[in-house]
Assembly symmetry: C2
Homo-oligomer: 338 residues x 2
């Protein structure tokens, strides 16, 4: 039996070390890429450390990449849009990755299946990689993990990276800090669905996409696009010297998708010409270094002191009103001094 067991594990459990991951990623193996992202998301320090080692050893990119953020309330049709646009792009020879951050997936992880089903064509395309990313924890980390997942995808040869969010989570403003261009998707009409979006997100947009501009809603979509274009004239611009455009399209019929893709490229070209592209990526690296190192200090500290539970308990005492805000903070301070 013992011999059998050992034989079994040798045969079926390949050693998943640094070389396994580096080789897999270099070969664009989507399964291994996905496994590496799971390491990134892990709260286990050993696994996190292996993830860092992988990231450190990734070869320098020889191809240019575009990172595109896309946000819209549930129901605006992001998945159908990405499914159709994605197929259009792979037909053009692009390799595309979609990282979907779904705050509802924290508990159920149910969206993994959901996303693949929702992007029916793309999920079968060998030049596409679709990956839902779990939402963050008390200690943060969702956006930092996404930042690292982007690096992995690019190293695996993907050149257009979409980061899809529903615009309601804590980490949305941080997502803006890891993309080159940020798109907001809305529906034709009064824009009621935008009321569900976290404040501050709207004016981050470099491009507003009025989706479902098909059939009866085509005229209404044009009207909506004019209204938003006027409104955006009054908001701060994310890209200096560039006015946010509002385009209409239909993810279902594919109408207007070429325009959207052309506009994305115009924004990127403008950003390259003005050096904003390079400057922004540099600035983003700085922001993420601070964010990730802060998270790391906290994670190591809590691990060493086994005080994670302690803080969670203090926090819930404050929320329940059993301790005042400053009673809890002073208690924490005394604990940290030990």
């Amino acid at each position: 039996m013992e011999i059998n067991k050992s034989y079994h594990s040798e045969k079926y459990e390949q050693k998943k070390d640094l070389q396994y991951f580096l080789k897999g990623i270099k070969n664009g193996n989507r399964f291994i890429l996905s496994e590496a992202i799971t390491l990134i998301e892990s709260t286990n320090l050993e696994k996190r450390n292996l993830a860092l080692k992988i990231l450190k050893e990734l070869p320098v990119l020889t191809h240019s990449t575009i990172r595109i953020g896309i946000t819209g309330s549930p129901g605006v049709g992001k998945s159908t849009f990405l499914d159709t646009l994605g197929k259009m792009l792979t037909a053009l020879g692009k390799k595309i990755a979609i990282l979907a951050i779904d705050p509802s997936s924290r508990l159920t992880k149910g969206s993994i299946l959901g996303d693949k089903t929702r992007m029916e064509q793309l999920s079968k395309d060998p030049n596409a990689f679709i990956r839902p990313t779990a939402s963050g924890t008390l200690l943060g980390g969702v956006s930092a993990a996404t930042r690292e997942a982007v690096d992995l995808c690019e190293a695996a040869g993907f050149d257009v990276i979409f980061i899809e969010t529903v615009g309601v989570g804590q980490s949305e403003t941080e997502i803006v800090n890891l993309v080159d261009i940020f798109c907001l998707m809305i529906l034709p009409g009064a824009g009621d669905e935008i009321q569900g979006i976290k404040r501050g997100i709207t004016e981050m947009a470099n491009l507003v996409i009025v989706n479902k501009a098909d059939g009866d809603r085509k005229l209404q979509a044009l009207e909506t696009s004019k209204q938003y274009e006027n409104a955006f004239k009054l908001l701060p611009s994310r890209l200096p010297g560039w006015k946010t455009k509002v385009l209409t399209c239909s993810g279902l019929t594919g109408d207007g998708l070429s325009d959207v893709w052309n506009n994305i490229n115009e924004v990127i070209n403008h950003a390259h010409k003005t050096s904003f592209f390079h400057h922004q990526r540099k600035k983003q690296r700085e922001i993420w270094f601070d964010e990730i190192s802060r998270n790391m200090i906290i994670q190591y500290y809590l691990e060493k002191q086994s005080s994670a539970d302690y803080i969670v308990t203090l926090r819930s005492s404050v929320l329940k009103g059993e301790l005042t805000f400053y009673e809890a903070l002073l208690t924490l301070s005394d604990e940290l001094k030990k």
Copy 2:
């Protein structure tokens, strides 16, 4: 000589202990209040701890308070506006505090004199307290310190707290998380000055104030207010069931200031009626508890390990390109493991 020295220090250096601060704050002593805020802002752990003890012992408030955020680019006239509005409010029997966060003050601290001079009438008013707050450090903290300064001011009897910012700093979106109402100040015209404001700030506004609506600019101000009111209809609303209003006024002549003050009260009343006021303050406490406890862990950790310099060095190596992003993070991780 020795005896003289001892006598000297006994006479002139009053012992500044917990009781000294609590008594001073209870009596509304503005000098001691200011000293206590300096303790809050200190990076010295002993002083921070005394500050926490003061905060913990503050009596439960018996008066209701309003916390008002006001942001606008330099030159829109925030100081003149606050000077005139402040005098109007103290004449109504209010006690007002103005906490001004000036990112330029980090190095020079020069704005302390500047602010007092700019609010000429108010700085002589015994029912007003004006305090510039230093900008944050690598380890954050400006907003957490401001959060605590608000509690001190309220305990000292101030009932209307203004937090003034210029809308360009890292901590602006956090400031939104410590006020009951957030006002954006702009100038009549094309709104060019809004382009300098950090993205995401505009749509946080519960109220937009078009200032300098006097003389020749009165008509233009009305036109501007209409444009912004239309734009805000399309943005997410910060206060459910409340459309952001755009009002014109002149801080110089005082024209329209009563309207502004009435509208602030309407927003607050609506928030009270819908329980949003209570809900928002509770949610804010939660956000700040996480923020402050995270900062505290990092501060204690760096203090104990004397590794603050180490991280600063790593960070600058990344920025200079001497280390890659992940080389630096892996080095930090190894250091933390020790």
